[in-house]
Point group: C2
Chain length 525, copies 2
Amino acid sequence: MDWLDLFDINLSLADERTPLYRRIVDAISGAIESGKLKAGDKLPTNRELASKLKIDRSTASRAYDELSSRGLIKSHVGRGTFVESAAIKVTAPNPVSYAAMPVRSGAIDWQNRYSSYASELYSLMEKQPRLTQGGDVINFAAGIPARHSYPQEEFVDIMQELIKSSGESSLFEFSPASGEPALRAAVIKHLEKRQVIVRDSELMILSGSQQGIDLMSNLFLNTHDLVVTENPTYFWAISNFKARQADIVGCSLDDEGIRLDELESALMSGRVKFIYLMPSGQNPTGITMSFERRKAVLALARRFATPIFEDDFSGDLFYDGEPLPPLRAISADASEHVIYQGTFSKALAPGIRLGWLVAPPPVIERLNFAKRGADLSTNSMAQAMLTEFLRRGSYDRHLARINATYTLRRDAMLSALAQYFAGTGVTFTRPKGGLFLWLKLPDYMSARNLLTFAQRAGVSFSPGDLCYVSEPDASTIRLSFIQNDQDTIKEGVKRLYNAYKLYLAELEDKAPKQTYGATAEHVLI
Amino acid sequence: MDWLDLFDINLSLADERTPLYRRIVDAISGAIESGKLKAGDKLPTNRELASKLKIDRSTASRAYDELSSRGLIKSHVGRGTFVESAAIKVTAPNPVSYAAMPVRSGAIDWQNRYSSYASELYSLMEKQPRLTQGGDVINFAAGIPARHSYPQEEFVDIMQELIKSSGESSLFEFSPASGEPALRAAVIKHLEKRQVIVRDSELMILSGSQQGIDLMSNLFLNTHDLVVTENPTYFWAISNFKARQADIVGCSLDDEGIRLDELESALMSGRVKFIYLMPSGQNPTGITMSFERRKAVLALARRFATPIFEDDFSGDLFYDGEPLPPLRAISADASEHVIYQGTFSKALAPGIRLGWLVAPPPVIERLNFAKRGADLSTNSMAQAMLTEFLRRGSYDRHLARINATYTLRRDAMLSALAQYFAGTGVTFTRPKGGLFLWLKLPDYMSARNLLTFAQRAGVSFSPGDLCYVSEPDASTIRLSFIQNDQDTIKEGVKRLYNAYKLYLAELEDKAPKQTYGATAEHVLI
């Protein structure tokens, strides 16, 4: 190995004021710049380098780290360390001097410029089905309340009041990254009603809870980090975690929530960054975790010293008596283990884009930095409006009203499903809260194929496959029961059943043919 | 090297239906799972592995790639390839089975959980100076307009009108990720006045233009990707690019904008993802790029087929006649090369959090996916209000008003600086637009040290060092001239000069002592 001849590292004669590792960095980057070392050339191991130069191995290692962090060299698994690219002095004083390289003139090749984040996200988005909008199609797909459920009149009243007194208000001013102090105080009061006790330093306001998922991904996830989730889970959580190149371990659910045996197995690895859970009205299954399960999940998180990221996106929508306490409220020390978020998009109005997140103060400090990097701060006018809505007690009255309505709608959907799909082998969950129920077709059926028939019959839904972390069950369906009134729900379920029958007929039509001759084979192609 | 004895790779007897590389993967991951191979154990190079097992090197390489992508092994620069962690089957069917590992019970070690994004951002944020707020301190630091410059009365009027007609409006509904169609149309009309011709498929609405920087970072930046910027540049652009582990090449500015020689050198590498520029009222220097320089920069971008990310954050604030066309409007094909964004935060009100971004349609499509991942969509009420404000022509009237005011304020600051700092060696830029001017102290002075004196004297500013990509000039200062009226500006500059004199006196007080005896040495410690 005479690669050392390629360039001069005359260490004994070098300027004594420059640290040794820095002289090695300069020598190697100089050799790359001058073309003596080229992209793809192999470098010695740091052990070899140290022995050749008669220097300490940690010095060689430090030099390689520096060259690597500058992007000049790169190690490849099982092969060794190589020159990565032409030298670029990213920290060079101006004017920067580069080795001349061939010019690529003309149109921009966008396709090859995107990051791994963009590619991963795109490949997930491409799989989304196209839903028919409007017309006579009854929408069971969307995870948002119906327009006329918004407390629009009271919003208007509040806006007028704010406007009258807006001389000194901050309706249009810049809001702190962590949110308006008055809104933070109002959210803290609201959370007390859910038994969640929060200090101001533990809380931040979000531009909707999707932002919480994004900030948490930014703050914790490096490539190949592990996240544990329920499986199936929220599509936009899967996509954020995967776009950050994290690996997801999905644990299945039973009637009481995430399965403990699977969760324990997943935590055994000891390298889970966080556990993402929706204990109430889980998206997409509608399952609400039982009290016993909540205690056990928290105990597991404590035992494995692993944080829980609790997404209580629909915690304010509950239909069978009082809601269970969130994980964050299960025990006194849960504040150390649980990062807790919620939103006003589901129970109030999606257009206001407001949510909150609760975490230990040092985590909140960092999330606020990430929030500034993401959008600096949240719309001030919406924050002022919500503050007043909470202060008046209007949110509680609104919840009482819509929870009564949604209970009837849930019951209407459950009884229509029971009526139409009796004896078909179709099963479904019975949600205690939230927006969704989860329907399972017979294994041989595809929800996406059913969707084609359904849209023709005038009803739409979300196929469940995209909610799976891996190995999707293609015969699952997410139905939203809050968006339509009871009669529309009954009509929608009827259409769904008609579509089901047509799809079944097509399957049966095809099935016998598969065993007979050329025609059937043609069908199979 | 007898590591092969650790586990069985009996390749000749193995199941022939399993690919060779897969059998190696299984053998090594099995050895890790069973504890025969432990985290930190060194693996052979793939050349050594291939020779031992008498297999093809590409097979060994493929096996290592698979193990690496599962996070089981990792190569370290100059050292070789090592077992990274206990085996985890991330794609295992349920129930997942893991090897039992020791339990780490107790408190969560947050510090060691953060991502590289979080660490990088935190280290940048920690360097921010703490500014005295309120009281009698005159604020030259903040990059936002003064409260009473907001067209609050008209906003109120619009809100009342919207409220009256809100029966069918979408004030509180979910908005499309790309923004309300009516607002998109109004922004397109506004951009026409700046000679920027945009189709609807090329435009998206942002929750403020900071979000544009974040989405662009997500969409294009992988670790060690290169971004070219002006140097100095916007702190929250530097922080976003660096937090995504990108490398930044900063090019200095002269009176006409970014230096062409440095930009050309930077582009020579051929691996620049995009060039981030603020051609009008650059932050922090206040420099507006000349028309000739704009043409030349665009020609360079075209020659090197490299996109420009043009941040026209203060393009609506201009004080010397008509504004220059943005890069996006310089030539017909600029639409292929320039991604163009702007904001209503600077000229209108920061609390409404609304901006826009223009890009070729395939890029917009992907940015909209990233936008959904970030916050799903933007506040609907603010969009409705801005739509009406633009539709009425109120924004143009507002701009005429504030641009007249800000011209006077700029002139007041320039003449006060010229008056007080004559003969001091302090220099400053003369902005044609935007919010800022850039002041340079003599080299031996530190802006942060001056800030201490300044805050005591009742004036604050932003030290310029954080705006540098690398090797900061610690004797630079950013002053905002739009936030205070003319008298306050004069008083603020006077206070700044008083602080400057006190700081200078302290320096001169220390300077002679440095040459004399023990006391001086003590001071130097």
